[in-house]
Amino acid sequence: MSDLIKLTLSDALDGLKARQFSSEELTRAFVDAIEAANPKLNAYVLPTPEKALDMARASDARLAKGEGGALEGAPLGIKDLFCTEGVRTTAGSRIISEFVPPYESTVTANLWADGAVMLGKLNMDEFAMGSSNETSFFGPVVNPWKSKASNADLTPGGSSGGSASAVAADLCLGATASDTGGSIRQPAAFTGTVGIKPTYGRASRFGMVAFASSLDQAGPIAKSVKDSAILLKSMCSHDPKDSTSLDVETPDWPSFVGKPVKGLRIGVPKEYVVDGMPAEITALWEQGRQWLKDAGCELVEISLPHTKYALPTYYIIAPAEASSNLARYDGMRYGHRAGEAKSLTDLYEKTRAEGFGKEVQRRLTIGTYVLSAGYYDAYYVKALKVRRRILQDFENVWDRVDAILTPSTPSAAFALGDQRVDPVTMYLNDIFTVTANLAGLPGISVPAGLDANGLPLGLQLIGKALDEGTIFSLAGALEDAAGFTHKAEKWW
């Protein structure tokens, strides 16, 4: 029965509906796989096998009556950023390492309403601040993929590293993730999986532990483009509990996968060529253009002149919003509280010094600095203006193109520990993904090939606001052309 875990979500849903296997059998296979793999991959910070089996049995009862939702009986992993009622939710941080939410996030509530089964909570960078999963209080996640050149443990990327590793290693059918600067798409690219960040406002942020509220968006990591469309459809909804939630209908995205892409115009931004980018990524990008051309698309060279300013802009806006959002962790109403202190202020300072890891402290310090008197205009307001320039870059090309094709990341997965030295080097991981967050646009990463060391590489499609449908169709075309069926060779 261990082959059940290798199914795609779409095939598993068909099998469940046809009663070829029960949700309990399927769930048990995942529970066993997680138990065996987790000591090596560290993808789950909290497996919830009993809850999973209970939910599976309830799904089986519904399926037996011919009832059930779009995800009935499908076992999923949940990034530990989504509050789950009665199930510990930590955001990868010591400061809330024992927090048990009394409420459910809207995204996960939507999944359960559709019949999904929760396998457990997935590891992540602390408060989603990281690109390698090394900032988690629970230790780094390990990528199931290995380089042919070395046996070193590789990063699955971040911040949704647990989600990506679990999907790639068949430890769930699909996973929730979140993306503030690339945290869905970069780990998807590093693990040979599909990840999509929808248009800002599509998925409710209610019950998602906040990092940078104007950028954070939930989305899935999945085994195929179709799976990602099924999951995203279930996750998204209009939610009065999130004031930035869009009051729009959620389209039937799975029906867009497989639609012909003939005649679509694809922008190729010249600014997405960066110094030191491996030749293999340049070649893959070229290959991707050819695939889309063969599928009948028209390629258009475009310019997005403010691209190089996107990351510095992000590293003002995101820490600024974080410094405000994370002010709530003061040790008074919930979370860690330090022991002895001389005064109330001293207690706050000790609580936060003990509770936050080094990268979070660094970003909160930067964020506080750029918001402080005398620097607010020079840094924060300036960044907000450059952000609009970045949005305008996209607005200026949408009359000529329907979507944009870029590499997902400037490199393949790197070894754990490799980029820990210099924060700026680490930040450059998000160079191709962060523009979509700043402009609020949907972006999807599709596995498209392997590098010389046998590691997966991804291509990214960026779409117009609310036009996920077109990038799902194009991603499907890329997936078909690439024929990417590689899996990490099992060593865990």
């Binding site: 510095p312 000790k350 660094r362 020079a378 609009r388």
Partner: protein
């Protein structure tokens, strides 16, 4: 705009993060590295550009000003580091 040790000390205090003296100098260097990289934004012409605070252009929605939740102190206090008799227990804040 180089950040010195005393600025780091002040900002860490504003952020309410206790930072040991021997961390101040390395932190100043890290922050200067990040800020030097951020300085390139000065090249961008933002004359007449409105700051962009959100991707969602819609106005904040309004709802009826009524109580929709509450009356459940046990749930509210469940994660409190310290509580007693339906209240949060916090250190003395007024001397």
């Amino acid at each position: 705009m180089a950040i010195d040790v005393s600025t780091v000390r002040r900002v860490a205090h504003l952020a309410r993060i206790e930072t040991p003296e021997d961390r101040l100098e390395p932190l100043a260097q890290e922050l200067n590295g990040i800020l030097a990289w951020i300085e390139q934004l000065n090249e961008v012409d933002v004359q007449g550009v409105e700051p962009m605070t959100s991707c969602v252009e819609a106005r904040l929605p309004l709802r009826e000003d009524v109580v929709t939740d509450g009356g459940d102190p046990e749930r509210v206090l469940r994660n409190a580091p310290k509580s007693a008799d339906g209240f949060f227990v916090v250190p003395k804040v007024v001397e």
